[in-house]
């Protein structure tokens, strides 16, 4: 049984090079699923939309 992986990361080119094709851009090296420059409620919205994108890419053929 294969398990699809959505990788939230910064170094997309590296991920793709080793076959992690469901790689999507993160909030940055120091905060992959966050953005410390945003106030916390906006940061949570940002996180939610990022996670939804990650879940969406799990459903995509790559």
């Amino acid at each position: 049984m294969e398990i699809p992986v959505a990788q939230v990361c910064t170094m997309i080119p590296v991920a793709k090079e080793v076959g992690s094709l469901r790689a999507i851009a993160s909030g940055g090296i120091v905060s992959p699923t966050g953005n410390p420059d945003l106030p916390s409620d906006k940061e949570k919205e940002f996180r939610r939309s990022l996670v939804l994108r990650a879940l969406q890419v799990l459903k995509e053929e790559v």
Binding site: I3, K44, R47
Partner: protein, 350 residues
């Protein structure tokens, strides 16, 4: 290189002239000066070095009591204050070959003494040790003793001097695939300008760092339906419980940890930390959701967008991971997820 290199030669009971198979149970010993084939090794070294001692052990003794044999042999080795250990050549003798590989590895790792062995490519010792210590290819024929010892002497001298080794095919050793430093004739900035100018002029040049070869994995088939999916959160950003009880490594990881999150709606910053040498963990420490988005995942679980969040977060700190270890860690995590019936993963990387 002014001073002569002090060399110790490791032999089995046969080459140490103690006896044949019947003397295989002989324990470790040592003697000053060259013995048996060590004389040919001395010839091969010439003025560059002296075989100051020979150490030996019976092949059966070594095979049956490896740890004790190594401890005693290292003790003997230390007493002779060598710059270099040469073991064998063992040709086709499997137990002898394994002993050569093992004593060389131990000398390097535990005493920091450069060491190399010699044996045939098919020897069990070559199989086990060729990636860990330098082994010269002796072939199976004992008639190759003298030329093999010459190669071993030449290679040994280079190891001691930290001079660049020639290519494996040229110098007759099994490639370890290990990078080493060597002193260069020109500094890096000059070599970079030379290389760039050659490139601009259309002249040949050679890149100094070959592309590392990674295994490319094939992506899995997509999920059909998220609302029944069991999604696991995995991270290489070094999430750990507060205080890092398992002492997860901040770099060069060799393992992963499993963090139970059943019943947790969020990751409390007082109960979790991020340990990782490759990025500033302050932001993740203040809010671990910046690394592992459990808060949002729980909401989506409650809303029915996903079926379930898997009850463990698998985590490691991915700074400077050796490819071998990273592969093993990934496989270990994958096995656990498969066994637990996980159907999708969100992997967060820093």
């Amino acid at each position: 290189m002014g001073e002569k290199i002090r060399v110790v030669h490791y032999l089995n009971q046969f080459f140490a002239q103690i006896g044949g198979e019947e003397k295989g149970g002989v324990g470790p010993g040592g003697k000053e000066g060259p013995l048996g084939p060590s004389r040919a090794l001395q010839q091969a070294l010439g003025e560059r070095g002296d075989v100051v001692a020979t150490i030996f052990c019976g092949d059966n003794y070594f095979a049956e009591r490896q740890q004790e044999a190594i401890d005693e042999l290292l003790r003997l080795l230390t007493s002779f204050k060598p710059d270099l250990l040469i073991a064998g050549p063992a040709f086709e003798s499997g137990r002898y070959g394994v002993a050569c590989g093992a004593i060389c590895q131990a000398a390097e790792e535990r005493l920091g003494i450069p060491a190399l062995g010699g044996m045939d490519e098919g020897n069990a010792g070559a199989n086990l040790y060729r990636k860990k210590v330098y082994i010269v290819n002796s072939s199976a024929s004992v008639a190759r003793m003298v030329p093999t010892l010459q190669r071993m002497a030449d290679l040994g001298v280079k190891l001691v001097e930290r001079a660049p080794l020639g290519k494996p095919e040229e110098e007759g050793y099994f490639a370890k695939g290990v990078k080493r430093n060597a002193f260069a004739a020109k500094p890096p900035a000059e070599r970079a300008v030379d290389m760039l100018l050659a490139k601009i002029r259309g002249e040949p040049f050679k890149s100094e760092i070959p592309a590392p070869k990674f295994q490319r994995s094939k992506p899995a088939a997509p999920l059909q339906d998220l609302s029944s999916a069991v999604i696991a959160l995995v991270t290489d950003g070094g999430l750990v419980p507060e205080g890092n009880p398992e002492r997860m490594e901040p770099g060069r990881p060799t393992r992963f940890t499993t963090i139970p999150i059943a019943g947790l709606d969020r990751l409390d910053p007082n109960e979790f930390d991020a340990v990782h040498s490759g990025y500033d963990t302050a932001f993740a420490n203040r809010d671990p959701h910046r690394l592992v988005p459990l808060d949002v995942m729980r909401e989506l679980e409650q809303e029915g967008v996903i079926g379930k969040v898997h009850e463990f977060v698998h985590a490691t700190g991915g700074a400077h991971a050796a490819v071998e270890n990273a592969t093993r860690i990934g496989q270990g995590i994958a096995e656990r997820l498969k066994a637990a019936g996980v159907t999708g993963v969100i992997l967060t990387s820093t």
